[in-house]
Symmetry: C2
Subunit: 314 residues, 2 copies
């Protein structure tokens, strides 16, 4: 049994063939080049899928199906990308277009949902039925798995966990509101706060670590500087952990999942991130330790989560 | 076909017999008197259920089952009230205790979940599969119905929508955190803000409407005063609508339901509440009007929602 899993990203289209043991038999990628007609993007998705199948000597006929993780607001039922700001897409009939090339079952979901499903099927939450994933990247994506299946919401545009309030009226969010979770716990938000702190405190180690060029700030620098004892960096990291902890407590109070997963570059911090966050949420989840408090874990599949998750939509 | 629906409240135990058309054939109530052994509370629930059945001439044997809506953190799977702050309850085996009196199927859920289910089965969201209900009372309860069924979360203590951040670090919440939705959109929060505004502005109409006694402030006064043109009251109402709109947008971004229901005394304001809130969320839900934006409606069943919803757990 084999399925195609496609991770449609802003930079690359990643395609993998996934077997029944959740192993990726082969994978490859091509540039997305979003600024062209969507038909061309989808043609490339289809061609790359065919090529990899061919290389593996696998027939199109034996293919169980194709799953696609797409950014944006995805209408999984109708197979449509309702809206993607980054792609400039509106009501793109992704499944119908893909069906011009493949006659098998084709499913789509939001990319963060696919990453969550991948981790549940083969990664940090393997064999766990209920998980919430936060992707801490340029933005914050949310993926919710309930009873082993992607939770889509009743209409397209659910599970947008990054676009819920943390501090209403606070930092501007990419969605147009102010104070969303994304505006405080994304990698971009961490970098913004580290830049500000470094600018306010010229003697901070963070300035040295980005060679005095605040444009070179990244999400690792405040953690590294904090570890070396830098007070300004410590404050940035502590605040980030509080913001993340508050956001996680919100999602625990809503979904009460078995585990909460975090993905993105900041997860390279491993226990330096998950330990204080786990400690923090104990006092913040509703009913405290009188109710179930999920573990907070880092995702482990990296880029493969999206491919494996997409394949598991089938 | 008939079921018993029980709404276990802080003041009263309300019991009703509900038929297959969702009609309450008869109902009655007794005081809860929470400060006694839980066995006594449950004995009263059982006795009142038996009495009403007897009065209607309905046999215990023909009873399809008993559903109970309880405050607090309810473990629906195990039939346990894990924790109720108001009741001082911890790990109360509600279903097992009730089974001493009745041999039929017995189910429990959180009271706000039951209210939501009642409205979906017989009220403001009749024949609608997916709804989110916010009970705007002393606190803020959350009830989520997905595909016609109560969404419980994977572990007890899910769907606590009132205990998610609106303004982290802001007003103190009953749950121990600061800035929860409950701390801004509960009736208590509205009254608090009206009191503050009236105190800050002695010439405000709100002072006259509570006869100069701020302890007599209620949730209706700021709306009435605002309608008469009182500037301070208008500001209170406008802020309340913004807070409520932000909270609703959060839950839309998570659940993307067909409708959002509001219940509690403030819903007596009807369209004065739902119209501006509906307008507000259009610009706040993720992807705006490019995605589905649910209607905001007031619940219509009042106290009966809890009884009907509880009966429908069966």
């Amino acid at each position: 049994m084999y399925r195609v899993g496609i991770d449609l990203g802003g930079t690359n289209i990643k395609v993998g063939i996934v077997d029944e043991t959740q192993r990726i038999l082969a994978q490859d990628s091509v540039p997305t080049n979003v600024n062209r007609p969507y038909q061309k993007v989808i043609e490339d998705m289809a061609n790359l899928s065919s090529e990899i199948l061919e290389k593996l000597g696998l027939s199109k006929e034996g293919l169980k199906g194709i799953g696609i993780g797409s950014p944006g607001t995805v209408d999984a039922k109708d197979g449509i990308v309702a809206y993607s700001n980054n792609f400039g897409w509106e009501n793109i009939p992704l499944v119908a277009e893909m069906r011009k090339y493949f006659d098998c079952p084709i499913e789509i979901s939001n990319d963060a949902n696919c990453a969550a499903l991948g981790e549940v099927k083969a990664g940090a939450a393997k064999d766990i039925a209920n998980a919430v994933l936060l992707t801490l990247g340029t933005g914050v994506g949310g993926g919710v798995i309930l009873d082993g299946k992607v939770f889509e919401g009743a209409h397209a545009g659910g599970a947008e966990l990054g676009h819920t309030s943390l501090i209403f009226g606070g930092e501007r969010c990419t969605c147009g509101r102010r104070g969303c979770v994304e505006a405080y716990v994304s990698a971009s938000a961490l970098i913004r706060d580290a830049r500000r702190a470094a600018a306010d405190c010229p003697e901070s180690e963070m300035n040295r670590l980005c060679s005095g060029n605040l444009n070179a700030m990244n999400g690792k620098i405040p953690f590294d500087a904090a570890e070396s004892g830098d007070v300004a960096a410590k404050r940035v990291v502590e605040k980030y952990i509080i913001y993340l902890g508050e956001a996680i407590a919100n999602f625990v109070n809503i979904f009460r999942p078995d585990v909460v997963l975090l993905s993105g570059g900041v997860c390279n911090q491993g226990e330096k991130l998950t330990k204080p966050v786990s400690e923090y949420i104990k006092g913040k989840c509703f009913a405290g330790e009188k109710a179930f408090i999920p573990q907070v874990r880092c995702a482990i599949l990296g880029n493969n989560a999206g491919i494996i998750g997409a394949a598991n939509l089938i």
